[in-house]
């Protein structure tokens, strides 16, 4: 799903109506584009995609389904072959019936959503559901070669008992005999799915039909934890095993259809219906979309067919989405390994079906529309956020959700959060370091800025490493914490360690985790090993001796993943004080010669004067020596020479998030110096004897994405002789005054 980025939403909301008002539309003539041939195979050649582990192949589906476009129902028969790849023995099979989330308002999903999802409202009475009419056991542990799901079995199967669980989004099928390790079963189910009017990912709107999570799907049997088939909740997305899908779709003849995988056959048994055969390999889900209004747009990237199904009014945007898709592929293939499938389908949902936009399925995703900012003058607004970011983000899921397939219910951050991190890097790779995503009046809003502005609001309300159902929708932190906070934690670590070790760790993680349902432990272990080395620590400053500033990677990850806090530093004081001098009595050094004995008359005079003024004479033990105080010590710091002052900078850590931080210190002579604090204590003082500090900046390079509040990160030295005017408040004041002038002048006369 797309990130809940309030800023991008606001931007789209701002731009959309404005452009709508000025009547930007498209030509009435429906364009057509040269088609790219359907790939013959659902997977790319092994030389391009790499090896797929055989043991990752757990379940195969054969589905024959018919869409009733009037009632918006899908009637289907499903055959499934499932293999027990664990050492466990099971006597029941849990199935997801995700569509039942929309069956009644007391389902767990609807109860949490209270009728709306990401700003989209549920249409009253337009419920959706999946009803299972029959479950039969067709066979047990058939030889691999004999698995021909598409063939009608010669004998009827054994009827199995099944029942919905407490929440209707899962059901349990009871087996007559347990299935042991290595054994498999073949089941046949008959089902009917009625699509809701779309407001959350899946459903219909007019002729548009988005069929996601539309068929009964078996849970995941894990070696350690047993069956994983979570109740479908508001924030819990999906988790399933890999396998092959052979899907036959019977749809109206004039509908344009997009689906996971590749189309291997198309027949037209009657004038008004057509039957499509799709094949998807080594995927964990199958989704499809049908709409007679789609226009097809085509592209290709290194043998990967890119097909867009776009609404006529947005057809001009297809090239922008294609470019974004190419940027995403280039960046992610370089960083996270090859995309294994031969096709990707980008679906543009119609107006009114925005709830279906911004959702990922294997080899298919829905995006959102671009807000036409290019029609506004560039000095006013430029943006590469609306539409483009959705395309980058949803494609990113092809890796973290589609290819790695972590348990999105147990650890949603492994998909949404890592994907958001990767999205930033796609932008960096495509447009340069921390590029702008929007420019308003020429002022940039960068990738880091967007994360920061999101974190400021709800970033510290929850830890990110927790199951989806622990997030309270009324707290309102799920989106920020799971998406942006994960990205902030990950990219801060990347910045601190010098980028290359983090990049190396992520390459290794994604390589090891392909088709493996990785958990957070694998990622953490990889990061600790690659960044921290043997002892899990990285020396940021120093060579391991005293004064070395360490980054303890596991400690950082513990704070970032399992703590609610976000980092926050503040400059307590920046200033200068008189340098400590050498005045007073000090023991004479062993090699220091004794001074000549003063004449007795001088000593007597000194004693007499001291007695007269009531203090001790400047005469001490012979082995000590007395140094006089410089006259200038009596002067104010502002009047002292630079060599006679000691600059200081005090930084405070204002949250429980301990992380090393750079401090840039500027001196009176124009020099700049960067020092690093390990961030462990409550505060820390940097001292600069003989140097006059003029300004200090905490985290000047904005490395700490996890520290969103930076207004208190820079200050001029106290008693600075000529501190410049504070630019931000001055600017705001000037804008306010200019706006007042405009209002007074514009309306007054």
């Amino acid at each position: 799903m797309p990130p809940t980025n309030a800023l991008s939403t606001a931007l789209a909301a701002l731009i959309g109506p404005v452009l709508g008002l000025v009547g930007l539309g498209c030509d009435d003539e429906v364009p057509s584009f040269r088609a790219v041939d359907e790939p013959e195979q659902a997977l790319r050649p092994e030389s391009a995609r790499g090896v797929i582990p055989e043991d990752a192949h757990i379940v195969d589906y054969w589905i024959d389904a018919r869409l009733d476009e009037i009632t918006h129902e899908i009637h289907g028969t499903l055959r499934m072959s499932w293999r027990n790849a664990t050492a466990r023995t099971v006597d029941r099979l849990p199935f997801h019936l995700y569509m039942n989330a929309f069956r009644a308002e007391d389902s767990e999903w609807m109860a949490a959503a209270r009728g709306s999802h990401r700003g989209q409202k549920f249409a009253p009475g337009r419920w959706g559901f999946t009803s299972v009419e029959r479950v039969e056991l067709l066979g047990r542990t058939p030889p691999r070669d004999a698995l021909a799901l598409e063939q009608t079995p010669p004998e009827p199967g054994v009827a199995l008992s099944y029942a919905e669980d407490d929440d209707p989004t899962t059901m349990t099928v009871t087996l007559p005999e347990p299935v042991g390790p290595g054994e498999s079963v073949v089941l046949e189910l008959e089902f009917t799915t009625r699509l809701p009017q779309v407001f959350a990912r899946t459903g219909y709107y007019g002729d548009f039909h988005m069929a996601g999570q539309w068929f009964p799907k078996i849970g995941v049997l894990e070696e350690a934890a047993g069956w994983q088939a979570h109740t479908f909740g508001l924030f819990s997305e999906f988790y399933a095993d890999f396998g092959d899908y052979e899907v036959f779709l019977d749809v109206p003849a004039d509908y344009v259809v997009g689906a996971s995988g590749v189309r291997v056959d198309e027949q037209q048994p009657s004038d008004d219906r057509k039957r499509l055969h799709y094949r998807a390999q080594m995927v964990h889900d199958f989704a499809w979309v049908a709409d007679p209004n789609f226009i097809e747009h085509w592209g290709e990237y290194e043998g990967i067919r890119i097909r867009q199904l776009i609404q006529p009014e947005f057809v001009d945007d297809a090239v922008v989405h294609l470019e974004a898709q190419a940027h995403a592929l280039a960046s992610m293939e370089a960083r996270f390994g090859p995309y294994p499938w031969s096709t990707i389908t980008i679906v543009h949902v119609p107006k009114g079906a925005a709830g279906a936009g911004g959702m990922e399925y294997p080899t298919l995703y829905t995006t959102s529309n671009i807000a036409k900012a290019d029609k506004l003058p560039a000095w006013l607004l430029r943006e590469r956020l609306t539409g483009v970011f959705t395309t980058v983000h949803e494609f990113g899921h092809q890796y973290f959700q589609g290819l790695l397939a972590s348990n999105e219910h147990a650890q949603p951050w492994l998909d949404e959060g890592l994907n958001t991190s990767a999205n930033q890097l796609v932008y960096w790779d495509a447009y340069g370091e921390d590029p702008w995503v929007a420019q308003v009046f020429g002022h940039a809003l960068t990738t880091k800025d967007l994360i920061a502005l999101s974190l400021i609001q709800t970033g510290d309300r929850d830890p990110l490493d927790q199951p989806a159902d622990r997030f309270d929708p009324l707290v309102g932190s799920y989106g920020t914490v799971t998406y942006q906070k994960t990205a902030a934690v990950m990219l801060t670590l990347r910045e601190l360690c010098g980028r290359e070790p983090w990049d190396r760790a992520m390459t290794r993680y994604t390589q090891e985790a392909r088709f493996r349902h990785p958990d957070g432990q694998l990622l953490e272990r990889t990061l600790v090993e690659e960044i921290g080395g043997e002892d899990g620590r990285l020396a940021l400053v120093g060579d391991g001796g005293p004064g070395t500033v360490w980054l303890d990677v596991q400690d950082y990850l513990d704070l970032g993943l399992r703590g609610a806090a976000i980092a926050d530093f503040r400059l307590i004081r920046v200033g200068n004080q008189p340098l400590i001098g050498g005045a007073g009595w000090h023991p004479r050094g062993p090699d220091e010669p004794l001074p000549p004995e003063p004449p007795q008359a001088v000593l007597e005079t000194q004693r007499a004067l001291a007695s007269l003024f009531g203090h001790a004479p400047p005469i001490g033990p012979p082995e000590w020596t007395l140094a006089e105080r410089s006259d200038s010590r009596d002067n104010k710091v502002t009047r002292l020479g630079d060599a006679e002052v000691e600059g200081f900078v005090i930084v405070q850590r204002r949250s429980s998030f301990r992380v090393p931080v750079e401090v840039l210190v500027e001196f009176d002579d124009g020099e700049r110096s960067t020092v690093v604090w390990d961030g462990q204590a409550d505060h820390h003082r940097f001292e600069f004897p003989g140097r006059r500090v003029t300004r200090a900046i905490v985290d000047p390079r904005m490395q700490l994405l996890i520290e969103p509040r930076k207004l208190d990160n820079a200050a001029w030295a106290e008693h600075h002789k000529d501190p410049p005017t504070e630019p931000l408040s001055t600017w705001l004041g000037d804008i306010d005054e200019a706006a007042n002038l405009a209002v007074l002048g514009g309306l007054g006369i």
Binding site: L380, L571, L711, S729, L732, I735, G746, I749
Partner: protein
């Protein structure tokens, strides 16, 4: 008779089509009056912006922003973290709008009187009090008519997009010119001060004079472009010492454009 009224009269007998320029001459010939209005406007804007500026300064405490490349983020952070700043700015803008509306009603008679050539300060400023009830009533009619015309102005934009903007500006500026005419009729020609026919006659009067309508719309558009452009420039330029003076200069230009538009109504009587 002073210079400002003599020149237009002599020209009026010859080339009538130059009367918008003669209207401008009426403004130029009253530099003290213009500068006084400008100074008042600057002072008001400065005072009104004071709380917002102070709130922003207080919110920054002794800190300073340090990265020009992330200025938008900093402003947003400031407004999120310190809602008082946004509240102060919004309040000052609301106050400006109210003051502008009051000024529009109260200052109309002195402006018309001065642009007509009157130099007696007592008479000029006295007109504000004398004509206040009439100005309130005529402005009320103007408000209703303005709402109607503004709604109509949205139609060409909705239908034609940016191409409909000139027509929209023509429609949107029409009620301003009508109000100028109605006020001038009351203040300078002793038309019935409270009667709606005064305003209705002004509608017909302006509608029958396309040059007035066209030039008035152009002047009003220029005024808006200048003041909004200056505001955009201040935003775009970021913190710079000269930025606010550009806005202040634009304020003067906007003031002159506004007076010029009003002077069209005065000049029309002479034409």
């Amino acid at each position: 008779m002073d210079a400002s009224s003599e020149a237009p009269e002599s020209a009026g007998r010859g080339r009538r089509h130059t009367w918008p320029l003669r209207a401008l001459a009426r403004v130029v010939m009253a530099p003290g009056f213009v500068l006084a209005l400008w100074a008042a406007q600057l002072l008001l804007a400065k005072l009104l912006a004071g709380p917002g500026r102070a709130a922003a300064e207080a919110a920054m405490r002794n800190f300073t922003w340090f990265d020009d490349g992330h200025r938008l983020r900093a402003v947003t952070e400031l407004l999120i973290e310190e809602p008082a700043v946004a509240a102060a700015i919004a309040t000052s803008l609301s106050a400006s709008a109210v003051l502008a509306a009051v000024f529009s009603v109260v200052a109309a008679p002195p402006i018309l009187t001065r642009l007509d050539g009157e130099r007696s300060l007592a008479w000029i400023f006295g007109s504000a009090g004398r004509e206040l009830p009439a100005m309130v009533v005529q402005s009320g009619y103007g408000l209703v008519f303005r709402a109607l015309c503004t709604s109509l102005a949205a139609v060409p934009v909705a239908l034609l997009g940016a191409g409909g903007l000139p027509l929209a500006l023509l429609l949107a500026s029409f009620p301003l010119l009508v109000l100028d005419r109605a006020r001038a009729a009351v203040v300078l020609d002793d038309a019935r001060p409270l009667h709606p026919m005064t305003f209705l006659r002004a509608i017909g009067h302006v509608a029958k004079r396309p040059l007035w309508w066209l030039s008035g719309a152009l002047i009003e558009s220029l005024k808006l472009a200048v003041v909004v452009g200056a505001l955009a420039l201040v935003i775009q330029a970021g913190p710079s010492p000269g930025g606010i003076w550009v806005a202040r200069a634009a304020g003067l230009a906007g003031l002159i454009f506004g007076l010029w538009r009003v002077a069209l109504a005065v000049e029309d009587r002479r034409a």
